[in-house]
Symmetry: D2
Subunit: 305 residues, 4 copies
């Protein structure tokens, strides 16, 4: 195998030397005030080795990346049953999301777009009396990191400005595909989006997806191997909104991004890689994160394709 730390360092320096393009997400103050110069990466192998570089231990808001974790929790309890309430197809342009809900009677296209993640939160409300606590405990358990927490300021800010998500939720409820009270569901959703981790923690948390569903180090089964395969498949086809194809094309790994500037990618049976840099390209994905993952996989020739 290649010298992982060496390739990591060189790729990091290469991207660092480039102009830091894009814009930091600004729809809530907590995201807007983050220093755009931050740039961290961490690789965690399925045997538990970690290689990192840059601002890799600075916590950030993982935002939509957390949708993979709520999906994982729901799928581990409900299995195939959950697909009665959503699909696992790519969504095309974000523009189409509302049209799609209309033509498909409130069935979201996949669990990684907002509409689908909201239905996943509704499923968590069905399953648990205290869904927020259960979700947090789950994330702490699969990561083995007790200190992971919601950022309550972020959750509150999301709530105050999240009219579009609240519109989605009510629209889906009008089709009967939300079972719980809207305010309860949205509260879970906004807490989910407020989860904070650093790159080292994020890549470790996602380790089970590179390890056939088993937590790394302890090898505890978190989801079934077939479920891990399916989560990876969903990330591959649906993980990057309007840039899912771009990511498959340039990086060639399943992954997920968040508007906080985080990204995570998985090479099954090998490693996970987390990056963080707050400036986003026009599709809402981290500019440096995309570059890093593209250059890194070009050099290592690691790809699922």
């Amino acid at each position: 195998m290649f010298d992982c730390q060496d390739v990591l360092n060189r790729t990091y320096q290469r991207v660092l030397a480039m102009e830091n393009k894009g814009a930091v997400a600004s729809y809530i103050p907590e995201l807007a005030k983050v220093d755009p110069a931050n740039f961290g990466v961490c690789i965690t192998t399925k045997t538990g080795e970690q290689f990192h570089c840059g601002n890799s231990i600075t916590p950030f808001s993982i935002q939509s990346i957390a949708k993979v974790l709520s999906l994982s929790l729901a799928i581990s309890h409900q299995g195939e049953k959950m697909w009665e309430r959503m699909d696992f197809e790519p969504s095309g342009s974000s523009f189409n999301s509302l049209v799609q809900l209309e033509t498909e009677n409130g069935i979201p296209r996949n669990p990684l777009i907002n509409a689908g993640a909201i239905v996943v939160c509704d499923i968590l409300c069905d399953l648990f009396e205290n869904p927020k606590e259960e979700l947090l405990n789950y994330v702490r358990k699969i990561s083995g990191i007790k200190s992971i927490s919601y950022n309550l300021e972020v959750a509150k800010s999301e709530r105050l400005t999240g009219y579009r998500n609240y519109a989605l939720l009510n629209f889906i409820k009008s089709f009967g595909n939300i079972k719980n009270d809207c305010d309860t569901v949205i509260d879970v959703y906004f807490h989910l989006c407020s989860l904070e981790m650093n790159c080292v923690e994020l890549s470790k948390t996602f380790g089970f997806l590179a390890n056939r569903g088993k937590q790394i180090i302890t090898n505890t089964q978190v989801v079934k191997p077939s479920q891990a395969k399916r989560i990876n498949a969903i990330m591959q086809t649906c993980g990057f909104y309007d840039e899912a194809g771009e990511f498959a094309f340039r990086v060639g790994l399943p992954g997920k991004s968040g508007v906080g500037g985080g990204m995570v990618a998985v090479l099954p049976d090998a490693y996970t890689i987390a990056t963080w840099s707050p400036k986003l390209n026009k599709h809402g994905n981290s500019y440096r994160g995309m570059k890093f993952l593209e250059y890194f996989t070009d050099e290592t020739q690691d790809t699922v394709f």
Copy 2:
């Protein structure tokens, strides 16, 4: 490695024993009159071994599967330049295709939907004086099979009923994204769709995508390794219209289907697998082909995820 012929046989028998659901495509007589009982499979490894079963040497109309071959020819000549004229993102539901062309000014979402494949045909008309001949020669060359041909009856039938494709073509031309005469371009497109192969030939033809861009057996480089990776990535995210996610989810391999009932899937660095059974599910993909590939990969645990 598992005993490939054995797993192939057992999976074949398992699917054969199930009810043969779905409906044969009937929009042209040449497809409608095919015997729905046909069912063939063939695996070709990157070292050239072949394992097959059932009606694996009966030729059929590969239809949209051929779009991967025209893409391959175009990409080998134009490289990244071709992405100025189309994108490589999944398209969402087929319903959205015209809306998407409208909102994105005539830029098709990817080269495997009809709109994109039509623009690829226009690129071939730019590149070659006799695009139909060049395309056929290319397919014969990369497959090493001289007898592969267009079915002129099929091409003619497509032409007589292909109003929707002709509408797409004219619509794209209205945005300036078709450079050649509409009748010339559509003629290439309908010939492309009329290519005929059997399962043994189809899996061999696609061998270069499991072999980092090199033709199997001769190891002649057909497309660059990075281009093979990208074609696989595009098949993964865009190869099955409304069922791209389903295929990634259940099969976990890049692939492409056609309305003639053919399917092809690729396990990079290992093998390609072609199936043929004419009855289609509601998404237009072969009912038995999907089942076969799902059960086969379940048993072998072969998946890119």
Copy 3:
């Protein structure tokens, strides 16, 4: 002039003799439990004469017909300024309403679709400290009928099931086109929809639109003549959702319908005509109401065209 009472009676009997097709709106219990056999009509001339027939003094929920009254109140205070926040173009199929809001940045297409009526309610919240009271007083004033009231049971039921309208409201707010608190605005909207009148009251209330903006009998100016003309124009092009063209085509008068089975139509400078019959056709307009107005205007040859 024709003998109004005679034509009214004969047309009423003609429609009464036909099969009473369609279905009563059932999304809230208060509408579902109305006797579908109800059928009333009333004509009020601009000089104050009234001709009625059938269940013309039974009160019913005027529902969306009330949107003309909130529009009238808003336009009388804001004049042309209100068109900065909405348009006055027909909306095409209801299917497109969310898509349209998306492509036109939260600007509703006209004040008579739900999205537009919600923005009108937001304008009323801007204008008045107690918008519900002001609105009710306004309706009582222009009608000269003190007993007109909201049905609080209906308003409450609308609130409990109105997820789609709440989705619309939040969606518009996400574009910045709602200034007040969502709960305050929706409360006004659901009260607006709960207004109750009978046919005699309804045709009298709308008298100002047949009288160049002046209340009938008292001749008090309610809106400017040019505003009355514009409200009529908006009713003509936008008053019947998917059936605006049908109504113009078959009836030829500006008008508005509600899911409670009420309809009102205006012949400028002559009269208003209100009908009520709870069974709705597939476009959501009263089956008998449409028939009555078509046959009535056929016989009288009254049409703006």
Copy 4:
């Protein structure tokens, strides 16, 4: 009655004194080369009096205005039967036209949008052996003007650049709603759009719509009174693409515009008014024509509302 020539002159001068905003249609050379300073108006009363001003006898391309004439010819032969193949509802934004055809299975929303006018041309191909000749004879007959003709250069230019219309035609044919050969139908359509008249001729030609379906002067019945009413209703709700509401709102008369800068409006039982000025506003309607009709009807208080 007001002094028609006087109001006409004063309104003409008022608009002439304003800045001549907008842009001349340039998609074909024949339209692009017209002098943008042209501005003519003509009123023809139902008794045959004519009042005109400015460039009122300079011929221009009436373009989409002609769709009212093909509709009239079709309706006079087919009556209600033609509504099996198209609707008469407003279309919302032009953006929605393709979506609408898709969701409504190739049934155009009304006969005045391109899709609908194309189906009308297909109906003319059903009705007549020589549809172009029949159509021209019909226009000459109802206008009483033998010299009206197609502009063959315009028809040819339309043909060479009309990819979008050809796309629409093929798309509708894919749903089975075009019965004749595509090339035959489009030829009729492009000739229809190439009709030339001046303002005096145009207002006279439309006279039957202000005269309950009877040609003015001769009083020959051209269409039934109920059909005239319906054509007016369709013009009112569908005559101005994205500005149908605007026109109803500001002018208050049924009418139709063309990209050549012509407009025609009808006050039933009174007069028709034709205007021509080539510069178009952003909705594709004549800038000066809209202003003239708005100011004219403001002053005369002529409105159907």
